[in-house]
Amino acid sequence: MRTKFRYVAAAFGLTASLALAGCAAAAPEASDSIVIDTAFTLETSDPGRNYVPTGYMVSKALYETLLDFAGSDESTPVPGLATFESNDDATVFTFTLDEGRVFSDGSAITADDVVFSLNRVAGMTESKANFLMNGITVAKIDDMTVELSTETPSLKLPALMTNPSLAILNSARVIENGGTTDDSDAAEAFLNETSAGSGPYILDSVNFESQVVLTENENYNGDEDIDFTRVVIRNVSEAATQKINLEGDDSQVAVDLSGDQVASLSDGINVFSTPSAQTIFLLINQSEEVGGVTSNPDFANAVRYALDYPALLELAGAGSEQATGVIPPSFLGALENGVEQDLDVAEASLEASGYKGESITLEYPNDYPVGGVSFTPLAERIQSQLADAGITIELAPAPFTTQIDSYVNGTEGFSIWFWGPDYADSANFLPFSAGQKVGLRAGWTAEQDTDVVNLASAAENATSFDERETAFSNFAEALQQRGPFVPLIVPGSNIATASYIDGVAYNSTWTMDIAELQAK
């Protein structure tokens, strides 16, 4: 009984102290530090192994790459640690390092570091970023010059070199800590503790489930002039929580707000809305076995013209745009205008397709919003729009992990999916071609449309910028007219910040460059 009393007393005591602690909890503030809330995807802070968004954001701040993009313009790579020249065939690229640049420990950046860093990624087959170096040979010319060569024309290579996975590491330190250029590399543990790069920040601490802390790199001698010397990147998986944290000034940047959430933000919050590089599209299978009536190209056309795109866009909110084609805006070859609803065309096409009112199943992953767009309302609206056009749709949602299986195996007749680039280059969209990876998922074989196959090949092998742009436009045009895909929405990327912060620029790979954040 006495024990009991003590127990209860302790409970009340704790409750009371909780309340007191709550009153005392005014988080210490420092104007030169900043907190970024984002839903983590973070597996490692070894840039060579990283392949996920939050990891890219971190790598981008800690390391530098040979080339870079300026602001949110992802059409043309600009010099980073190096400048480059290519031969006319677009097969040999010569990179010349800037003079005087140093790593965070003060040592100079040389061609050896570049060769080691790139070969390390090329050698680590277990790294998810390994494929970036497929078909690229690295050779040191002199201490400040490196030559990258490919078998076939590869105008996408400069864009590849902006990818933070191909960051330049301090080879001496990494080798010291187990780094090699093959599968025996054991430097990950070291790089999860310490950064070995030349970026404006160094790694202070990392916890893959909760937060990453970056501090200023005292030895940094690049172009960026950072305002915030301490950066905390926190894992806040709920966008609603990110919003409240930002409004309550517990954080200064929120990365994952949806269009609707941005619209209801309180005053004094800056919002930077840009179309992302994701494209949400409808897949209409061209294989009779898989899709039945959907395999008739007229059916795809009927769907294409039956949809009311602006009404769909309504669901995506700020920053989003109608997808004009499989290539999103800001990428080379993106089309100016998308498809417009034309119910007459839709009706005629539907008539021609032989559709007899049967119910068609629309599959989609329902636990996986893309750019703040949940697929369930989107699917419901598509269902309602197609119903108006005389097409009966039955919704069949499934979790992402389950749904992706049938998507990859090409067994979906009619589904909603999305595509984002692995690196900032339009070559990322060639898999939509007939006979290519995504094309095949829609049962679209090379034989079915040799024209498109040729267009894709022309874009792939172009050796000049202009030639390349035209080829991509033609490819996108062809897909818009007769491809088995109906691009719907390019969701917006909404980065919201405290009012005194500026310099937010969205990038499709690293989301934003932390070093560019400025205090007004």
Partner: protein, 231 residues
Amino acid sequence: MRTRWLKIPAAWITPLGVIGAVIALAWVGIAFTARAWVPFDPLSQDLPRLQAPGIDTLMGTDALGRDIFSRLMTGASVTIPLALMLVLMSLAVGTLIGAIAGYFGKWVDELLMRLTDLVMAFPTVILAMVVAAALGPSLFNAVIAAFVVSWPQYARMTRSIVLGLRTQNYVMAGRLMGFSPFKTLRVDIAPNVVGPILVLASLDVGTAILLLSGLSFLGSVLNRQRPSGVR
């Protein structure tokens, strides 16, 4: 008088109990009639999106421009029967297992009770997730997931009641008169289990609705962390 256990015990007739019964009945009524009187077609997407509650739209509109009040009322006709179904399923399976375990005892009891222990030792979230992942997070699948975790409580309760009943004098008296095991279960045990189990079940309907909404919530509300690499 024949079905004595259906008579409402006087102890239940409290202000709270009456209010509860009225609310429960009202919801059942709504569930069956909502389609006839809700102000808007719950499926129509014609209203402006994300309206605040107002005169026209009592609870506002959702992201697709549908009237939330109409959807809520018609939604009851889906959720309430499903919750009832869940409770009935758990009740049927749990009671059967518990009665067998309690009545036959010995290794049968040991085996069945370890089985319920296994289910109870199993993390509910994981089970629900796995079922949802395997079958898709529809409300019906939530029922299946919830069923898997909710039958053991009935099994446990039934078992403890049956264990208690098994040694009751009237059960012994029946056996002394040559009742078959089936007759003992039917005459002496089952009617005395029904009462408490129904009370548990009636309390459980509310929990079931909450559990179902929680489970179907998980898929729709939470932003799952993206699997690596898919961007």
